[in-house]
């Protein structure tokens, strides 16, 4: 059964179809949630909240966007709500642009992304680096760059203007790039 048919069946109360939709997207939602929360328990909690929202609201899903885009919107909001509940420091902003554009530190990196699966230390470092970003910047970076949504889809998902998405993306990319540069220019 294709996805549209599954959605129709789920909207008509077919639990098997609903379960199939959950199975189709649980990995994507969990992975995304982990990338924002950087913690397995929180990622699982956010995933559960996301699918509870899906089950509750599936009848209202109009099909104007893809189900995946809709789910990204829901999971992003749950991730941001969780971050908000953890304190204001998660939402500090980068006001000083010159501080995140470092044109002096250009070095060859000694580590490549292919090493990531076998390198726990590297994964831990990537967690720490992205953990320093405020959650709202992290969500924009993940949606646009890692999950591949368009700038417009990202803006819609997090209720921002396209200009605000570009600005956050710019700062998030520059910040992460500088964090990785500090580490990788000396090797892993």
């Amino acid at each position: 059964m294709n996805e549209l048919r599954l959605i129709e069946e789920a909207q008509n109360g077919n639990k098997k179809a609903l379960a199939e939709l959950v199975k189709l997207y649980e990995q994507t939602v969990y992975n995304f949630s982990f990338k924002i929360c950087r913690n397995k328990e929180k990622a699982e909690h956010t995933m559960q909240e996301t699918f509870l929202s899906m089950v509750k609201n599936i009848k209202q899903f109009s099909g104007q966007s893809k189900l995946s885009t809709w789910l990204y919107r829901v999971v992003s909001n749950h991730c941001l709500m969780l971050a908000r509940s953890q304190g204001k420091h998660e939402f500090t902003s980068f006001e000083d642009e010159s501080a995140v554009i470092d044109e002096k530190s250009i070095a060859d990196w000694k580590v490549t992304p292919d090493k990531i699966a076998e390198n726990n230390e590297l994964r831990e470092f990537l967690d720490i680096a992205i953990g320093k970003l405020p959650a709202d910047y992290r969500v924009v970076f993940m949606l646009r760059d890692v999950e591949g949504l368009s700038t417009e889809e990202t803006a819609k998902a997090v209720d921002l203007t396209v200009a605000a998405v570009k600005s956050r993306l710019h700062r998030a990319r520059a910040f992460l790039r500088d964090e990785l540069n500090e580490r990788f220019k000396y090797g892993q």
Partner: protein
């Protein structure tokens, strides 16, 4: 990024870096973008920077976690969709 005057002004590295960060993955055919592209081709620092931003994204793309069977089962139970 500030607007560049194509006749009189060449982008400097800082313009290029801001532009790379703003527009990676976007259509790059505007007059500003053409100036930027030319600068990147000629400037080792910017070329390096451009590649390092792309590699940064690649690191996070390749860092994935798999949902455990237990977490899957807890999810289905919480949704009332156990088989």
């Amino acid at each position: 990024m500030r607007d560049l005057n194509m006749d009189n002004e060449k982008p400097v590295c800082k313009d290029v870096m801001a532009h790379i960060c703003d527009n990676l993955g976007e259509e790059l055919e505007s007059p500003n973008c053409l100036l930027i592209k030319k600068h990147i081709e000629e400037c080792d620092n910017c070329n390096h920077y451009f590649k390092s931003v792309e590699t940064t994204i690649e690191f996070y793309k390749k860092y994935n976690v798999t949902i455990s069977e237990d977490a899957h089962n807890r999810l289905m139970e919480c949704l009332g969709l156990n088989e």
